[in-house]
């Protein structure tokens, strides 16, 4: 059995690793990840004009205003008081012109903008509040800063993160890894499905099950699929790290701040997160691909693959969305319950582990439930597969499948 499994595994791995779908999926994944990791910098460059402004008014007044606005706006120029029109904005590649005047003792602002909807009055007011207080109280800048500076201390309670930055980084990494989980499990389960369907439709299945135990055949295929998925994941993560590391392109954030850099990843991927990811990836991959393989054994034409895989994808998509929600509320009752449910747990429990301190009994319970479920799924799928691979003609009805399961037990 072990020898057969090894032979099937090696042959399947060799066939799939050189197959077009795997190579295309790998390449598209790498390109996609490179795009995603570079996206903030690219977007920043692409939409740089939306917060580009010119300041207009008395030079002394602008000297006071400029430091307060520079945090959120790209200041393209400072102009003396003048009439503002389209030409003024275009000449400075700005979307708006902030015209400051003093009405009595009060500061007044008029904004000329290509996109008035992008101007947030309250936000601008908040930014300029220190200046308004300074004028109203006749205090110096330092005094106002001292007056308005409120000491804020954040004390984590039952949190796995020491500060907000760490928590944000962990969520971002978990979000990415959950998306990897989704892509890898779905992509490779469909490759396993295609492989089973190919053997069924080319009629090689009968020769195979005469030579090797069907369980070994199925297990070899699924393990090869899981190994390929793992390989794909490593390549994707390396791509993400390389493109996120400093020097990978202009505009990259410093390594400590960029979660896709090596330093950023080591900050948030703790051993517990890594082990959780690998364990739940393995369970999820095995659960989903086993079901996909079993149903693939029932089809007679490769054209039917789409109609069979459609309904099977739904639980995986549902798991993805629930896991995304669990990142925000890892201890919500719905997240806790679904982190035990087969097919959902690999995504949801991993999301919870990544962003919170999940009680050990819940992790152990989820593993026990899902391993037991995997065992049951493997037995049922094995029976469907054993019979389905020799079943030609019309695609069987559910009642016939049930009958097969009962008689083959």
């Amino acid at each position: 059995m072990i020898n057969d499994l090894g032979t099937v595994f090696a042959a399947e791995l060799q066939r799939r690793i050189t197959s077009r779908p795997f190579l295309i999926g790998l390449l598209i994944g790498v390109l996609g990840i490179m795009f995603i990791t570079r996206m903030p910098a690219l977007l920043d460059k692409a939409f740089t004009g939306s917060n580009a402004i010119v300041l207009v008014g008395d030079a002394k007044l602008l000297d006071r205003v400029k430091p307060l606005l520079a945090k959120d706006y790209k200041i393209k120029g400072e102009l003396p008081m003048q009439t503002i029109d389209e030409h003024t904005l275009n000449a400075h590649h700005a979307s708006s012109a902030f015209v400051f005047t003093e009405q009595g003792t009060k500061l007044a602002l008029t904004v000329f903008s290509h996109d008035p909807g992008s101007v947030d009055n309250k936000d601008i007011n908040r930014m300029l509040t220190p200046l308004l207080l300074q004028d109203a109280l006749h205090k110096s800048t330092a005094d106002v800063a001292a007056l308005t500076a409120m000491p804020i201390a954040i004390k984590p309670v039952a949190s796995k993160f020491a500060n907000a930055n760490e928590a944000f980084a962990a969520r971002a990494v978990a979000y990415t890894l959950i998306f990897f989980l989704y892509m890898l499990i779905l992509l490779n389960s469909q490759i396993v499905m295609s492989s089973v369907a190919e053997e069924k439709t080319t009629r090689i299945a009968e020769l195979l099950v005469a030579s090797v135990n069907p369980s070994a055949l199925l297990a070899g295929k699924i393990l090869a699929g899981a190994t390929l998925a793992l390989l794909q994941m490593v390549i994707w993560i390396v791509a993400a790290v390389l493109t996120g590391s400093p020097g990978a392109g202009s505009g990259a954030a410093p390594s400590g701040d960029n979660i896709f850099s090596l330093a950023g990843l080591f900050n948030v991927i703790t051993p517990a997160v890594l082990i959780g990811f690998l364990v739940f990836f393995a369970i999820g991959m095995l659960q989903v691909s086993t079901v996909f393989a079993a149903f693939a054994s029932l089809i007679n034409r490769t054209e039917d693959l789409g109609s069979v895989s459609g309904p099977l994808v739904i639980p995986v998509i549902a798991a993805l969305f629930i896991a995304m929600g669990a990142l925000g509320s890892p201890d919500a009752p719905f997240a806790v319950i679904t982190s035990f449910v087969p097919f959902l747990a690999p995504f949801v429990m991993f999301a919870r582990i990544a962003v919170s301190n999940v009680p050990l009994w819940q992790i152990a319970g989820s593993l026990a439930v899902n391993l037991a479920a995997l065992y049951v799924i493997a037995i049922i799928a094995g029976r469907i597969y054993r019979v389905g691979m020799l079943l030609y003609g019309r695609t069987p009805k559910l009642s016939q499948i049930w009958s097969v399961l009962r008689t083959s037990s």
Partner: protein, 300 residues
Amino acid sequence: MLEVDHVRKEFGTVRAVSDVSFSINDGVTFGLLGPNGAGKTTTMRMILGILTPDGGTIRWNGSPITSESRRHFGYLPEERGIYGKMKVRDQIIYFGKLHGMREPAIGKRADWWIERLGLKQYAARPCSELSKGNQQKVQVACAAVHQPQLLVLDEPFSGLDPVNAEVLISVLHELKAAGTTLVLSSHQMWQLEELCSEFAIIASGANRVGGTLAQLRAAWPTRVVRVAPADDALHAPFAAISGARPLARMDGTIEYEVPAGTDFASLLKSLVAVAPVTRFESIEPSLHEIYLHAIGETTA
């Protein structure tokens, strides 16, 4: 020795095999005959352990079929399958490995089969690039590369041109000479008659007749007697035999079907007594006739 003892297999309400029994000694080439839907393929699948019988037993060398015994079996199914993108040599090696063979022995065996079946020029090409006949040769090599003790071939000649059919027949003779037990099903009766020494004819999932060709012929109730010339006087001695009936008259001959127990020496004497006889022939039933008779009994 393979023993199939009262095996039964049902699929839901359909009884594919109701009661089939036969035994095959080592090194024998056995023909399993029957019309479409008789249960031949299901019986073969049960022998190979692909299907589990609902009743009865199948034993190989006195023990139930196990995964270990299956390693020594080979199978060429009726529905041929092949990995189109896999190269010819790789495909043969893969199936050898599935039967427990390892390098370097498997490589040498694969090369031997490639050479033997005239596939050398295609060895490094994907199977999908081969003609249908050559693909079938690859399948034969896959089924036999591990030198099986038992080789089951379901309709091995279907789709083969006469030249490739001859190649397959010679290969099967070689396997038989090497001690491989062969189980064949085919509708090409003349090929089975040439290859097989024992037969079982099944219909509607049950045995009809079985044994060596000599035993089947011995059990045949009639014989055909052909005499020449076609002299009308020669009909009289036949008319005196109870149960004799004339068959279609060929050019220059007279044919009669007579009971198998007929005393042919006495018949010849009677014929010579009424007219000069230049030819007297007692024709044994062919496998084809025995088969049709057995099936006819079932369908009657």
